[in-house]
Structure formats: structure tokens, C-alpha cells
Symmetry: C2
Subunit: 213 residues, 2 copies
């Protein structure tokens, strides 16, 4: 779908407001984009185990409040956005959700879980500091060049479900190489939220990015 430019200009204005609000609250914000089922919520549950109440989460879904409930059970504040059909979050929805987050106790990290979709969310700035693209091994190692609008824009590439590598063919080097060919500065991590592989490195990265805010 073509996006008309007045819509995008309005989105960019609100995203800039969000970015200022996040900074005033001392928050590092990251926008996580992947296909449905790549493991966004599972990753956030694992991060909640590491970061606890230092992190808050805005959850985007077309329908249901299941993901916010999972995050709250894992120990973090969470607000759910139900888009009711829309295939991506926009800055206005994030602004509204952020205003609804309980800020009485301070936190450092704001995770925004976008709607499961490898295409439409990539075009919308939400005001985040870090755009994270996630690709799970079962999706196949041919996806970077098929979905260049996302993979050329991300700051961080997470390869997830690495515990499944013995059960499928997937060339992690190829994916990272193709992503760097679009996007030389991308930072990459190989993660299994199930086994914990790579989680410590990811948390260190986030802490150091927060320190340099």
C-alpha cells in the first residue's frame, strides 16, 4: 500500500514528540519488528527476567490483549494497543499508550512490540532510538533481500530461535552478510530466549546504549 506523504509527515511530527518525551523520562526506546511468531513476546519475557521493572512494554497487536498479560506476568509494566485491523503501529498510537503507562516508579527501557508484520511497520517512525528487526530461523535464510525496506533501516538484527538450528538448514552468516550489504552499520545478535543464548550480550548492549543516551 502506498503511503501518502501528509500522513507520513504527521506521523514524523508525532514521532519527534515521542522521542522528546522518552528523553525527558530518561528512557531508551526500541521498536521491535518481525513476522508473526518470530518470538518478540518471548524475547521480551526473557528481557523482563533480566531487567525486571527497569523495562516497560507497549504491546501492539491487531487483536487480543494476550501479549500484555504475558509481559505483566513476567514482571514488567505493559500497555496493550489493539489496532483493530491496522497492520502496523504509528506514532500517535504509541503516544497514547505511553501516556497510559504508570510512571510513578522510574524505568530505563521502553520496548515497543510492533504488530507482527515484516513490511508495513518498517516505514513508520515511532520515536524509538533503536529499530530492531528480528528474524527467526524457521522463517528461512532468504528473507533479508526479500524484505529490504525493513532490513535496510534497522539498527539491530536479532536472529532468534537459534536452538532450532540442528533441525533445519539456515545459514546465519549469509543472513548477517546480506543485511550488512544493505545496511553496513547494523549490529547483530544470535539469540535463543529458550536456552538463554545471546541474552547477556543483548542486555549489555542495551545497558551501554542507555548509558550513552
Amino acid at each position: 500500500m502506498r503511503i501518502t506523504s501528509p500522513v507520513m509527515a504527521r506521523n514524523d511530527d508525532i514521532a519527534a514528540e515521542n522521542r522528546r518525551a522518552f528523553r525527558l523520562n530518561g528512557l531508551l526506546a526500541f521498536n521491535i519488528i518481525s513476522s508473526p511468531g518470530a518470538g518478540k513476546t518471548t524475547l521480551l519475557e526473557a528481557l523482563a527476567g533480566e531487567l525486571g521493572p527497569e523495562m516497560a512494554v507497549i504491546e501492539g497487536d491487531v487483536k487480543t490483549r494476550r501479549d500484555a498479560d504475558r509481559i505483566v506476568r513476567a514482571g514488567c509494566r505493559a500497555v496493550q494497543i489493539e489496532t483493530g485491523g491496522s497492520c502496523h503501529l504509528d506514532a500517535a498510537a504509541v503516544k497514547e499508550a505511553f501516556s497510559a503507562l504508570d510512571k510513578r516508579k522510574p524505568f530505563k527501557y521502553l520496548a515497543i512490540e510492533n504488530v507482527g508484520n515484516l513490511i508495513c511497520p518498517s516505514a513508520y517512525d515511532l520515536g524509538e532510538h533503536i529499530k530492531v528487526g528480528m528474524l527467526s530461523l524457521p522463517e528461512g535464510d532468504d528473507k533479508v533481500l526479500k524484505y529490504p525496506s525493513l532490513f535496510s533501516r534497522i539498527d539491530v538484527l536479532l536472529l532468534t530461535k537459534t536452538d532450532l538450528l540442528p533441525h533445519m538448514e539456515f545459514d546465519m552468516d549469509r543472513v548477517e552478510r546480506e543485511c550488512r550489504s544493505l545496511n553496513p552499520g547494523v549490529k547483530t545478535f544470535r539469540i535463543s530466549a529458550r536456552t538463554g543464548q545471546g541474552m547477556a550480550d543483548l542486555c549489555s548492549f542495551m545497558r551501554s546504549r542507555w548509558e550513552s543516551l
Copy 2:
């Protein structure tokens, strides 16, 4: 994203033209919708092995011609649509691709592989006879109620990558039950293109639907 109704009315008109053209050519057309990496192309390769030149394929991707090349190597005619950013196929793109398919030797089945996306393609009639929704086990068994616009509209639900069941938690009964709760008439199959599980049943279903055209 909201779809304005003149766009949808125009799409529906062209979809009706497509449906007439498919019927005049004696074709059963199916529109396959899933997340990226759920196994659409791999399923079509496996179907190509069963149906050979009886099937032709229209491949939709945002970018690259890789999938059409895979289908041709598997023994079927294929035409690639590169949407160049659009997150779904529409009837006009399918009409153009269909006109480019070689029809000198007759065929029976027209597979349309939609862009990998669980949201936007669900709203667009392409003129198909059968709308197929595919969900791979690694995506998780919570997806039906999170993406109701697709799962309430499909004629056939394919659960794919069933060979991975020993390596993950996935309740196939739950998914089929939730899909039937939205969509009582849905027909379901459990498939592994890798091991061949379920492929014979799916082919029988397609042959019988072709017979009753």
C-alpha cells in the same frame, strides 16, 4: 491501514473478471496467505512434484524473483509479481500476471502465492476459488485469534512444518478449534512438505474441488 471503499470496489470488479477468466480456462485458483517463512514456496515445490505441469504459479513478493525461479526448477510454469513495497497482491496485479502466463499447454490449477503477511492480504479478493491460510508450527499456536481477519475468511487452513512438533510446544487441536470458532466451515490439513505428511490428502482435496468446478 484503512482501505478506502472505492479502491476495494474496483478491486472486487477486477477480481470478478479474474474469476471468469479462470473459469473459462478450466482452472481452480487458490490464494495462499501466510507470514513470511511459513513455507508457501516449499509447499508449492512439493505440489509441483505431485501435480507437475497441471499447476501454474503466480508468485508475489515485495522484492526478488527467487520464488518463481524455485517453482520453475520444480517443474511448473511461474510468473513473478514484484510489488516493490506493497504489502499484498491485488486483483489487478494478478490479472496482469495471469495474462503473462504461457497457456499453450492447458493446466488445471493456478496457485497464487501472496506476499508474506498475515494481515493486509486477507482483505483483497484476487478472484480465487479457495482462500488458503497457512500457519507454521514455529509461529506459535496463539495466532488465530490475534489475526482474525484472515482466519475468519479462509476456506482451508494448513498447519505446516509438522515435522518440527517434537522440538516445540504447539497444540494443533487448539488452533483448529479456534479457527472453527471464527469460521465453522473451514477445512483443515496438517502438512510437512519436508516429510510429505498430509500432501496426499491435500492433493486429493484439490483434485475433487477441480472435478466439481
